[in-house]
């Protein structure tokens, strides 16, 4: 399983980069090291949407990735404690009233809270913000849910203030993140994450090889889909794919020849 941390600020990223020994990649704001990586989304709606779109353009392992938005956030003094980390179970976008519910499946030791994503930082606590406020979570969820399922979107928020901050520079962001890293690390080490991968019948290597064969005999897209389904069925029934190479040696020159090969493959592997 792979994990990508999404932070809004560089200062939020610093402790995670150090802990996981992440290296800067050629892609802007992206750091990685084997199974862990980190991407800095920027603050607020516009930056988040633009940067997440950039992230999706180069990140290739979405099928086996858990995205974790970690960051500091404001907390209602009645329901949150400073420096504590909370797992978010409901995200509301204050601007358009969209509401999202990330699946919470794996045991954890944090308390859970709901969160409201606001346009501006909230500097006065009120009943309108009963738990936690931030400026990115709903935009991250809305952008990523088109590419990742709900059970692979995680939101962890560390309370930096009680919506009463006067001087943002006085917040020791690095300390807040560093303090919570041991618990985060322990949680991500759980075996259960591997069950959340995208289910696949054909491995990546098998798919690549099959597509190479399909291209060689120039199957239509519809023919490719049909054969992939037939080969998936075959693999499930027999626990392995058939030997395919012999069927793709001859390169047909006419459509009719190609269709004949296709029909032959269909008949052979369907039964």
């Amino acid at each position: 399983m792979k994990f990508v941390f999404l932070t809004a600020l560089k200062t939020e990223a610093k402790a995670l980069i150090k802990e996981y020994d992440l290296k800067k990649s050629k892609n802007n704001s992206f750091f990685n090291n084997n199974h862990f990586s980190l991407f800095i989304t920027g603050m607020g709606k516009e930056q988040t949407l633009k940067n997440i779109s950039h992230f999706l353009s180069f990140y290739k392992d979405l099928d086996e990735t858990i995205a974790i938005n970690i960051g500091i956030a404001g907390g209602n003094p009645k329901t949150t404690s400073l420096e504590d980390c909370y797992l978010i179970n409901k995200i509301k976008n204050e601007t358009n009233n969209d509401v999202f519910y990330p699946d919470v499946l794996i045991e954890h030791n944090w308390e859970e809270r709901s969160l409201i994503t606001t346009k501006k930082a909230i500097e006065v606590p009120s009943t309108s913000y009963p738990n936690i406020v931030d400026m990115e979570a709903s935009h991250i969820y809305a952008s990523l849910i088109k590419h990742l399922p709900s059970h692979r979107l995680v939101f962890l928020k560390i309370i930096s203030d009680h919506m009463d901050i006067q001087d943002w520079k006085k917040i020791d962001v690095d300390h807040l993140i560093t303090k919570n890293i041991p618990a985060i690390k322990k949680w991500l080490n759980k075996e259960e994450w591997k069950f959340l991968k995208q289910r696949r019948i054909l491995s990546n290597d098998e798919t690549k090889l099959i597509i190479k064969y399909f291209n060689r005999i120039r199957l239509t897209i519809s023919q490719q889909h049909q054969l992939i389904e037939i080969l998936e069925n075959y693999k499930k029934r027999n626990n392995a794919l058939p030997v395919l190479s012999k069927h793709f040696k001859y390169v047909p020159k006419l459509k009719a020849d190609r269709d004949k090969i296709f029909q032959g493959l269909k008949n052979e592997f369907s039964s």
């Binding site: 509401v99 709901s114 399922p149 069950f195 019948i201 998936e232 029934r237």
Partner: protein
Amino acid sequence: MNFLPDFSHIYVESQSIDSDIAKQSFKRFPKAKIIEIEDYKKIFNKNGQDFQIQKLSTKLILAKKQPPFIYPATDIIQDSGFSNFYYCTPILNCIYNCEYCFLQGMYSSANIVVFTNTVEVKDAVKKQILERKYPDEPLLLSLSYNTDILALENILPLTKQWIDFANNTDDLFMEIRTKSGLTSSFNKLKPSKKILFAWTLSPNNIIQKYEHKTPLLERRIMSIQKIVDSGWPVRLSFDPILIYPNWKEDYKQMFERIKETISGDKIFDITIGVFRMSDDFYNRIKKTKPDSDLFYNNYDNSNNVKTVTKDQKAMVRDFALSQLDGYCNGDKINFWD
């Protein structure tokens, strides 16, 4: 494994939060996180769900049902000769996870929705009884088309409430389909001829391989024995009978065990069926690349229903009939066709 227990979270619509069912649920799961929601569809129908992954830790959703409250039954479920056959959906989804179940194709979520406005639903049933097409016959209401309501009885005792309702409502006959072993709630109830318990039975090999979280055969048989001996009508449902290497051996053992433990004379009737699923549901499930081998077989496509071949259907029918020969009156055996 350290997945959160089922019902670790209860999502409750604001308009249901003070309902009896919500109060019962909060009491039954005191450690559950209660999350208030506006509209259950925003969580139940949300994008990016995986039915089988959500089965690892199923959540409870409490909501107010909007009309329609009652539906005419489809061709896929057997009517067993009842002309006025309807179903209602007090609950969406099931605590069990049978690999051949259509629910995984019907809903994108595996979370369980319990509707809290039961009075409104019951009023709609009464209205439908008055408006039924064949007034000389009672209305048969299936309570468990989209769920196994009895399996939830030790969490929310809804079945008992529905039985009370049926007993106090003229011209209503109710069918409760189940695989559960929960019958203790009915020990104190007077048996009612208006309630038909339909127990689905399968060999243990099938239960262990395909009917996840359900009780083993012996537990189901014990429950049926108690219920039958008390005088409740019981339908035995062998549906679906699955075909695989040595299937006959497994089913033969099951039929023998049933014959030696449950008196055929006391059985209301028997239904038999094979694997079948609407094309839409089947294809939707197939797209999710399920682990179940049931979705990688070759099936016939008959009237937009994926099912086994005619020959296989005939083979199952002949086999089941031969096994049940002499067990009960042949007229009591119905085969889904």
